[in-house]
């Protein structure tokens, strides 16, 4: 699905020596070494990596390309052979001149066995099938088979491999070992130890990637149990990644548990809006309700992970105080619903009537590049002073950025915000106080929290506020425009490192709400008569032509994983 990004600037990879191996009879040249997932240092390529490169699927549970190899589940057992050597240390040849292959009498786990020149890997032999069946049978010995009430059902590796390698009846007549069913592992995770197959992916993730060595296997033999230290909660900002990593239904998210069968979810590619990192996500939604975010792999941004706080930051989309009506308000004299066409005409008229220099526009660094671009056009047309609102927090070493805005760079590049976000806010507040600024257009921010209080807003002739949730600014606005959550529209963000990433629409907007760019496009046309584009593709491409930093980009070329641009110094 992912399209190659044409403007990608990666350092040229050093030439890697390749060796030839055969996977299921098909020869393929694979790099002799591949980077270690943890250290990045070159380590010998393994059989499973060679099989992946040959597009041959090898079933596995404990292996994960982003984690250190554990080699404990045995599901990836394959048969293999290497070129036979004669007593003279020369390859023995078949009558037809091809090297004779000495088949190994024992299988090997593909995840931890390095390849060697001329090696042949067999993944479809009756022996391999039998081994997979055997391993799966063992893994299911103490498994409760409670799929009907299991949240993992539908995306469970035990289920998937049972289809291919499972037995129709169980040969196990002994008593199953019972383990704790509802372990409150931490504030966001519930563990069902009976479903656990002890692959240790969660242990390795939290130890080696999240840097919180909190999980372990206690007890012995068939009593082996995944656990945190008694009395210690599994609570770091990355715990929910273990739920994604868990190949079975052992680790479940308290937030998503029992909320929806996964096969009913419509999955939409999107981007997390909780900070400037812009982790790639998949939104799982059904009937216009968002049920979960999951990280989507993008090695240029978030690898395969995302933080818990970002993942759970979606409830506001369906919040009760969503603005759903487009209103013209007379503070103190009630409000009346109007149409978008009327709003665009009346607001344009007011802007055109305003004295040059008496208009201020505050955009949000939570808006999309396209919206900020259009807002900047409006600003240019009416010579408005503009700014945006900075949001900071303490970042971490893994994914959380110190900048809580998803699109601060977009606000800078489109010209809505100065290099230091918020540095014009004081001047705007002073202008309103002095009466030089009489019109304020606010998109996606509650300015009463940022130095422009209610008493200042009361002095304005015109206050236009577009937002998603109602707040003191929208309460005082003459025009209240219901905005869209990112999940309700398409658009793009420019993350903290200058990666331009697009996101898709997962759910329908609420009530009167419509994507801000649609309204802004109409407003721009009313202001200067220029007709832009009515599709996000066209709008993005227009923006890419006009904003220097976006030169050469196209909506299509952004692909699923985005393109990194050079940020102006």
């Amino acid at each position: 699905m992912s399209t190659a990004a044409p403007t990608e600037t990666k350092p040229a990879p050093p030439p890697v020596e390749t060796i030839k191996v055969k996977v299921d009879g098909r020869e393929i040249a694979v790099p002799k070494t591949m980077p270690d997932p943890m250290s990045g240092k070159p380590v010998a390529t393994t059989m499973i990596q060679a099989c992946n490169l040959a597009r041959v699927d090898v079933p596995h549970y404990c292996y994960h390309p982003k984690l250190p190899v554990a080699g404990n589940c045995r599901m990836c057992l394959v048969e293999f052979g290497t070129p036979a050597m004669g007593p003279d240390r020369k390859p023995v040849l078949n009558p037809d001149g091809t090297p004779k292959i000495a088949k190994s009498p024992r299988p090997a786990i593909a995840c931890a066995t390095p390849i060697s020149p001329g090696m042949e890997i067999y993944t479809t032999t009756p022996g391999v099938k039998q081994m997979r069946e055997g391993v799966l049978e063992f893994l299911l010995i103490n498994h409760p088979l409670d799929c009907p009430i299991c949240d993992q059902a539908g995306e469970c590796k035990l289920q998937e491999y049972s289809v291919e390698y499972g037995q129709t009846t169980s040969r196990f007549v002994e008593a199953k070992v019972h383990k704790p069913k509802q372990v409150d592992l931490g504030p966001r995770i519930v563990l069902d130890d009976e479903r656990c197959i002890l692959c240790t992916r969660c242990i390795r993730f939290t130890r080696d990637i999240a840097g919180d060595d909190a999980l372990g296997i206690v007890n012995r033999g068939s009593y082996n149990t995944l656990a945190a230290y008694p009395g210690k909660a599994f609570d770091n900002n990355y715990t929910l990644n273990t739920v994604d990593l868990c190949p079975v239904g052992a680790l479940t998210s308290k937030d998503f548990r029992f909320q929806m069968r996964v096969w009913f979810l419509k999955e939409t590619k999107s981007v997390c809006t909780s900070c400037a990192t812009g982790c790639n996500i998949v939104i799982g939604a059904r009937e216009d309700k968002v049920y979960r975010y999951e990280p989507r792999e993008n090695d240029a941004v978030n690898s395969s992970w995302m933080c818990d706080s970002g993942r759970l930051n979606y409830k506001w989309i369906g919040a009760a105080n969503r603005i759903t009506r487009l209103l013209r308000q007379n503070p103190g004299a009630g409000s009346e619903p109007i149409t978008w066409t009327t709003a665009a005409r009346e607001i344009a008229d007011r802007l055109l009537a305003a004295r040059p220099g008496s208009v201020a526009i505050i955009g949000s660094a939570r808006q999309t590049n396209e919206e900020l671009f259009l807002l900047a056009r409006v600003a240019r047309q009416v010579s408005a002073v503009t700014d945006s609102v900075p949001r900071t927090q303490t970042g971490d070493k893994l994914l959380v950025s110190a900048d809580r805005n998803p699109n601060s760079n977009g606000a800078r590049l489109t010209g809505i915000a100065p290099a230091v976000l918020g540095s014009n806010l004081r001047a705007i507040a002073d202008g309103i106080a002095k009466g030089t600024i009489k019109t304020l257009v606010v998109f996606g921010e509650d300015v009463t929290k940022h130095g422009i209080g209610a008493e200042l807003l009361a002095k304005l002739d015109t206050l236009v506020a577009c937002d998603i949730l109602s707040n003191p600014t929208t309460d005082r606005a003459h025009y209240v425009l219901p905005g869209c959550a990112h999940a309700e529209k398409r658009g793009s963000f420019t993350n903290g490192k200058g990666r331009v990433q697009r996101f898709m629409k997962a759910v329908e907007p609420r009530g009167d709400a419509r994507p801000e760019w649609e309204f802004l496009h109409e407003l721009v046309r009313n202001l200067n008569g220029q007709d832009g584009f009515t599709t996000i593709e066209g709008l993005f491409n227009l923006m890419a032509r006009e904003v220097p930093a976006f030169q050469g980009l196209t909506w299509a070329a952004l692909g699923d994983t985005g393109v990194t641009i050079t940020l102006p110094a």
Partner: protein, 162 residues
């Protein structure tokens, strides 16, 4: 829970750690043995103390304590009787011997693991091979080894325990 290590044990532990230069974690088992030898069991506080001593997380030490049956997670009686139940001793009557101890001491012969009398004087448990198959059934009472233990001899062993 406060956990204090006397100076002699602390010195012993530091010495044990010095056996594993550059890899303190390798001393985990030795430390657990030393602590159990001194206190008779491994309390949660002891687990946490050892973890801190070796720059580990408590779960790392807890894994070991729960893996090895010889590490006790609750205090044992003053005298611990370990009855061998591996094949030769099982054939030689170790289960009857174990049941005899339990019956005399008012313990449940069918319960799993170490059992201690309410007065804290005796603990009885099954263990695996004590390496004297020719003289089954065998047992260890504290650090003392007893071979060919009959019920009479068992009573004698118990009486000798002060």
């Amino acid at each position: 829970m406060s956990f204090t290590v006397p100076p002699t044990l602390a010195a012993e532990i530091d010495e044990l750690i010095s056996h594993y230069p550059g890899q303190k974690r390798s001393a985990s088992l030795m430390l657990l043995h030393a602590v159990q030898e001194h206190f008779g069991w491994i309390s949660p506080a002891a687990t946490e103390w050892i973890a801190a001593k070796l720059d580990l997380q408590p779960i790392n030490v807890h894994e070991l304590v729960t893996f090895y049956p010889m590490f006790r997670r609750e205090p044992a009686g003053r005298h611990v009787i370990k009855v061998c139940r591996t094949l030769s001793c099982a054939l030689g009557g170790s289960h009857a011997l174990h049941a005899h101890f339990c019956q005399k001491l008012g313990l449940d012969a069918h319960a799993h693991g170490l059992q201690t009398t309410p007065d804290g004087k005796f603990s009885v448990e099954f263990v695996e091979c004590l390496a004297s198959c020719g003289t089954a059934p065998v047992l260890m009472c504290n650090e003392e080894f007893h071979e060919g233990v009959t019920t009479a001899k068992a009573d004698e062993i118990m009486e000798k325990c002060a």
